[in-house]
């Protein structure tokens, strides 16, 4: 009797859940970018193709999900900040190289072309970089830091993201060592990041919170996050260090096992078109404030684009990734 009941229970659960069948979409998109939903909607309206947008959380959580899915991936397209991680997924054959003709169709600016990886692991759709987030209520105008070296005056009040938890933060750390020199860079960080509760933060949002309401007067943060805050009326400014900045591309990658290559191509064509770019700017969160890489597209008002970029030596960055992340963890993470 009890057995029958359990069987009945299982059956009723099955029926209930099956009552809401999943319609298979034409394209499954995994992402951690603010504008994906808007872009997907505009794409659906234009092409009639259905896109399932899956956003498990932060970039790290998307990567964790993709890693867990391993050799049975459920996504067709992944769209994230960061180039190094795309390269890793491509070398594991989780992603397939973007076909050359797809790049040729897009009207990239020179800046955009400079972001295209030799491996074709991903297609750049925009970029941002790391800047100094300065709270103007806490730091007088004449004391505003201009360079990484100036941070020495703010020892103990600088908020930073942990590169172990944030792809963009590792990109910053590798670039910082490249522009400041490894030993001098380590030395400077050791002097500046003296409070672990401020230097081991997990997201740009937490850096914002620390700068706006916490013990930090300066934050090391993604510039688009700072511009979004400025647009929202918060008392902060973005300062690009004189040593130079490393570009952080938004990359779009295609799953090695996708069965929807045609839809994926159409989606990329749309993203790199004027309409797609407009959808990518139709909002006021962090990622909408990207630096455009397509000819004729202007950034959102208030977003600085005249940044002195330095090209990151990807080989050095990925060769030392484990070591430098560990070093950061040992010194600056609670």
């Amino acid at each position: 009797m009890l057995t029958k009941t359990i069987a009945g229970l299982a059956l009723s659960v099955a029926v209930t859940c099956a009552a809401a069948p999943a319609f298979s979409a034409d394209l499954v998109l995994y992402d951690a970018l603010d504008f994906s939903g808007k872009v997907a909607k505009a794409f659906e309206a234009k092409t009639g193709l259905k896109v399932d947008v899956v956003e498990p959380g932060s970039t790290g959580e998307v990567l964790g999900k993709i890693a867990a899915e391993g050799n049975n991936p459920q996504f067709d397209i992944v769209w994230l900040d960061g180039s190094a991680v795309m390269e890793r997924m491509a070398s594991d054959h989780v992603l397939q190289p973007i076909p050359g003709d797809v790049y040729d169709k897009a009207a990239f600016t020179d800046f955009g072309k400079s972001l295209i990886p030799a491996s074709h692991a991903f297609l750049p759709t925009g970029a941002s970089t790391t800047a100094l987030e300065v709270n103007t209520k806490k730091v007088p105008a004449d004391k505003t830091p201009k360079s990484w070296a100036d941070l020495a005056h703010f020892a103990g009040t600088v908020a930073a993201k942990d590169p172990n938890l944030s792809g963009p933060a590792y990109q910053w750390l590798a670039g910082f060592f490249q522009t400041n020199g490894l030993d001098a860079g380590k030395d400077l960080l050791g002097k500046v990041l003296t409070v672990k509760s401020l230097s081991g933060l997990s997201s740009g949002g937490k850096v914002n919170t620390a700068v706006l309401t916490g013990n930090a007067s300066v934050g090391i943060n993604q510039d688009s996050a700072i511009f979004a805050k400025i647009a929202g009326g918060e008392p902060v400014i973005a300062v690009y260090p004189t040593e130079g900045s490393i570009a952080l591309p938004q990359g779009l990658g295609i799953s090695a096992k996708t069965t929807h290559m045609d839809a994926a191509r159409k989606f990329i064509d749309f993203v790199t078109s004027a309409e797609g770019q407009a959808a990518m700017q139709d909002g006021d969160d962090t990622d909408f404030f990207f630096m455009p890489v397509i000819t004729g597209v202007k950034a959102k008002p208030g977003r600085q684009t005249d940044v002195a970029f330095v090209h990151l030596d990807d080989k050095v960055a990925s060769a030392h990734e484990t070591e430098w992340k560990q070093w950061y963890k040992d010194h600056f993470v609670p």
Binding site: M1, L2, T3, T5, I6, A7, L9, A10, V13, A14, C17, A20, A22, F23, A25, V28, D34, G37, V54, E55, P56, G57, S58, G60, E61, L63, G64, K65, I66, A67, A68, E69, G70, Q74, V85, R88, D92, H93, N135, L165, K196, S197, G200, S202, S203, G204, G205, T209, L212, T213, G214, A225, G232, G233, E234, D285, T286, K329, V333, P334
Partner: protein
């Protein structure tokens, strides 16, 4: 009335089977075997297997390697975990925090339960409903609320009523204990209250007639009788704190206080995932919890008392006299700190434009609330989805827990210990790890990955995951109630020839109905806000509310996130309250159907 033990004539009769092995007898025997097997299979699929797949990677680190999976055995990950000063420190931190909070929470929750159940105090209704409302608030939201309140530029500092030293102390062990205790005391209160409800007052009355003081009665009679519930509460809160991720990722993270769950989280959120490290830390976490459960079993090697018989009467309430005022004020202080203040912070944040401008009049706006209330938005769809999933989960989880409890209550104490250990282990495993295990089972394991139901990427697997996350709680709540039933009740019905299902529905269920409803509502409310599962098993059809709320937080739109969370709490709370009213109205009265006369 006597305190019955598992051993005895009734128990003996339960185990005996007078029929020989006729074909009918054989069928009945197989049927009897199938019942528990089916239940244990459900248990194994829901919790055991996903957990095992995560844990096994601590000794087979390359099992799920993308390039070339291999079953090579290696002790390296565990050795690495124990050699790492960081992981060792996080183990110590987790233990210190969990042990402290288990005691403070059980004390507060127990006091609350006694006050509400057994004392006549003013404003009893307000005080009684608080634990439910506290439970309604997801831990990540409470944590955020307290960060908004306690950070050095936060609301309390802006009001000038927060000494800097307090703010500093808050971001450390003291603050974590404080917020955890205020957030978790409902769990302790529910467990102890359901035991108190079944206690009856015959023994107490007898002792009072004998001239014992109330204090002596509580120390010598009620205390020992409540010991199993108190122990359960300690273990459950201990496990809950060990596995908590909401506070670990907010307060603990911004203080120099690393805990195990955060280590597991950071190992599982990168590409490639450090499977080995996550597995090793999860194994350590589970081992810690199992040790506590076993220690508890070793300490209490006697049978649990069984008190609810056909003759039990509800207890009377104490009159506290003048003491009722301090008791009420203390309870109201808890209500204020656990509920009013955090909700106020969240509401203020929902109604203000920016965080930095604080309590300035020009900073107030209704935009966030309007956005959250607009129909057809992503927020609304997510909320409706969550409510549907939560309702379904609550029905399934409390149903399974009832069947499982009834079955476990009949089995030996070793089986019960294993089941409780397993489910508490599941509580102790962070949802993010269990969710991870679910992906491995349903998307990677040959034989499972192509099943149409539950299917990875569909709502069906998310509900399954929710059920797994909720089952341990339901089990703890219902098992503690069923454990108090005297076997004589169902034995009498069995002698009358009532079948197992009939006995469960006609006798056991009415007697533990309140605890089943408790489990149901608990699950419903928790599931609406269940975060890790919602994130790991996000359906392709669209995210549930928690994923949306967290996404907004991580994208710095905490104003809108606070508004959505408030709305979700109002809807879930209203729904639960309505359900509760209905149940109270139609609830079977104790004693109306307990003697087996209706079972014919």
């Amino acid at each position: 009335m006597t305190v019955l033990h598992h051993e005895g004539a009734a128990a003996f009769a339960r185990g005996s089977n007078s029929r020989g092995l006729s074909p009918n007898g054989l069928l009945a025997f197989i049927g009897r075997l199938c019942g528990p097997m089916a239940i244990y299979a459900v248990f194994f699929l829901l919790i055991g297997l996903p957990l095992a797949l995560v844990l096994i990677q601590s000794v087979m680190p390359r099992l799920f390697d993308v390039q070339a999976g291999s079953t090579a055995f290696s002790l390296e990950p565990l050795a690495h975990a124990f050699a790492s000063p960081r992981i060792l420190q996080s183990i110590l931190n987790s233990l210190e925090l969990a042990a402290t909070v288990a005691v403070t929470t059980t004390a507060l929750g127990g006091a609350f339960a006694v006050l509400v159940q057994r004392c006549n105090v003013p404003l009893r209704g307000v005080i009684a409903v608080t634990p439910w409302l506290v439970f309604l608030t997801p831990s990540y939201l409470k944590a955020l609320a307290w960060v908004l309140l306690m950070s050095s530029g936060g609301y309390l500092a802006q009001l000038g009523i927060l000494p800097q030293a307090w703010s500093d102390a808050f971001f450390g062990l003291e603050g974590l204990v404080f917020v955890h205790t205020l957030g978790l005391f409902p769990l302790a209160s529910f467990i102890i209250a359901s035991a108190l409800a079944g206690l009856g007052s015959e023994l107490e009355d007898a002792a009072r007639l004998y001239g014992s003081s109330p204090l002596r009665i509580w120390l010598r009679i009620n205390g020992p009788l409540l010991a199993p519930a108190i122990a359960l509460s300690i273990i459950a809160t201990f496990a809950e704190v060990l596995s908590d991720f909401g506070l670990a990722s907010t307060i603990a993270r911004t203080s120099n206080f690393g805990v195990l769950t955060y280590g597991i989280y950071s190992a599982t959120s990168d590409y490639p995932v450090d499977f080995a490290s996550a597995g090793a830390q999860a194994l350590i976490l589970l081992a810690l919890v199992l040790l506590v459960v076993l220690a508890d079993r070793m300490l209490r090697r006697r049978a649990d008392p069984r008190l609810i018989s056909g003759r039990a009467r509800p207890a009377h309430r104490y009159e506290l006299g003048l003491w009722r005022w301090p008791a009420t004020i203390a309870a109201l202080a808890v209500v204020f700190l656990a509920l009013v203040l955090p909700l106020l912070a969240v509401a203020i944040r929902a109604l203000s434009q920016t965080l930095g401008q604080g309590l300035d009049r020009s900073n107030f706006t209704l935009v966030n609330v309007q956005t959250a209330l607009s129909l057809g938005t992503a927020a609304n769809q997510g909320l409706l989805r969550s409510l549907g999933y939560a309702g379904l989960t609550a029905i399934i989880a409390s149903g399974i827990a009832l069947l499982l409890s009834a079955r476990l209550d009949r089995s030996n104490s070793l089986m019960r210990t294993i089941a409780i250990g397993l489910s508490l282990g599941a509580v102790a495993i962070p949802g993010i790890v269990l969710g991870f295990g679910y992906i491995l089972v349903w998307n990677r394991l040959p034989g499972f990955r192509d099943w149409p139901f539950p299917h990875y990427g569909d709502g069906s697997l998310l509900v399954t995951g929710y059920v797994a996350a909720a089952l341990p709680y339901c089990l703890v709540v219902i098992l503690s109630a069923i454990g108090q039933l005297a076997p004589s009740l169902t034995d009498a019905a069995r002698l009358q020839g009532a079948g197992a299902m009939r006995r469960l529905l006609a006798i056991t269920l009415p007697l533990v109905f309140l605890s089943v409803v408790t489990a149901f509502l608990l699950t419903f409310i928790r599931t609406v806000f269940e975060l890790p599962m919602s994130q790991m098993l996000i359906p392709l059809s669209g995210p549930a509310a928690p994923t949306l709320i967290l996404k907004l937080f991580s994208h710095d739109q905490d104003g809108l996130a606070c508004a959505i969370a408030l709305m979700a709490m109002a809807v879930a709370g209203g729904g639960a309250a309505a359900a509760w009213m209905l149940v109270r109205r139609f609830m079977p009265k104790r004693g109306s159907n307990t003697r087996g006369d209706n079972v014919k």
